[in-house]
């Protein structure tokens, strides 16, 4: 049992089923779907608030997404901690900067990878808030509620992603 618990990887089906059961819990005990992209908007609001409290009060978006450390914010801290616990206990925790596939395609320069990650993150942050959710909020929690918007969103996530990845790496499946 503990060997399995600490093994580096689990079957994707087991992991998926586990996430499904986790979502039962978030609905039951927190009356919420599981989503993480709101945490990033709250963090942006907290930074704005630290710079100018008045400015934040005047921005309509932060009246909807309040910059406070509530459930929707603590979840992201948990995800970082959970990733660490899983990797550390399995003995796979290791600092890295340039993923292997990136290095073999674009070179192993750390600063270049960081610049690309920053640009990708900015695009993703805008897109996640624009669409009102991410791969977890729309892609899993929304689709399982049979939300029309979430099914459209997840199709668009993958359509945009497959097209952009194909342009960057070449359409390898062809």
């Amino acid at each position: 049992m503990s060997d399995w618990l600490l093994s580096a990887t689990w079957s994707p089906y087991v992991v998926g089923a586990g996430i499904g059961i986790l979502i039962w819990m978030t609905f039951l005990f927190s009356d919420r779907p599981l989503g993480v992209s709101t945490a990033y908007a709250k963090t942006a609001g907290m930074i704005e608030k630290a710079v100018s409290r008045k400015n934040v009060a005047s921005m309509p978006y932060y009246r909807q997404v309040t910059p406070e450390a509530d459930w929707q914010w603590t979840i992201i801290i948990g995800v970082i901690a959970g990733g660490f616990i899983s990797a550390y206990t399995a003995g796979t925790f290791a600092l890295s900067a340039v993923p292997p596939l990136f290095a073999e395609t674009f070179g192993a320069d750390t600063l270049f990878r960081f610049a690309v990650a920053l640009a990708g993150g900015i695009i993703m942050g805008i897109g996640a808030r624009w669409a009102g959710g991410c791969t977890s909020g729309h892609g899993i929690s929304g689709t399982l509620q049979l939300s029309l918007a979430s099914w459209v969103a997840v199709i668009c996530f993958f359509a945009g992603g497959i097209l952009a990845a194909g342009l960057l790496f070449g359409f390898r499946f062809l």
Binding site: I23, S30, T43, M124, A128, T135, S136, I140, A164
Partner: protein, 185 residues
Amino acid sequence: MPFEGIRQNKSLQALLGLVFGTVFGFLLQKGGVTLYDVIIGQLLLTDFTVVKVMLSAILVGMVGVHAMKAAGLVRLHVRAGSIGSTVIGGLIFGVGFAVLGYCPGTAAGALGSGALDAAVGMAGIVIGAGIFARLYPVLERSVLNRGKFPAETIPQLLGVSPMPVACAVAIMILVILALFATMGL
């Protein structure tokens, strides 16, 4: 609704968020979906781990959430989307997905496993969310409400109860997963 006391307790909820997040991050890391190569492999259609995780989560989650809904234990949380919000935002997200190589949840799990580029990506997502918040009043007036979807859920769109739709989705997921197995993906 049951558990209303727990649901209204703000500090307990902040703690529960941390607990649920930890379980989520642990599972994402165990599934291998916190790896850049696995996520890009999915977008290149050479590695189907991400879709396998997502479809199994949808299948299991859908059964439980709809059963609890029918029993009066939970309520659904869905919002109507629009072409201007869901489609345009979704496509922008997709481009970011391919450039960053993580999504907002898996980036956090990747950082926990030591991926420093994921931390930089997370900073980018915060900046992007901040840019969106600044643009929000203009976008709200001009784009976000364009082409509102006629229904919040697929059953509402079809004018049927959730049960047959949930069954159809469950069968569709099982067929896709069986196809992956037979194709050796």
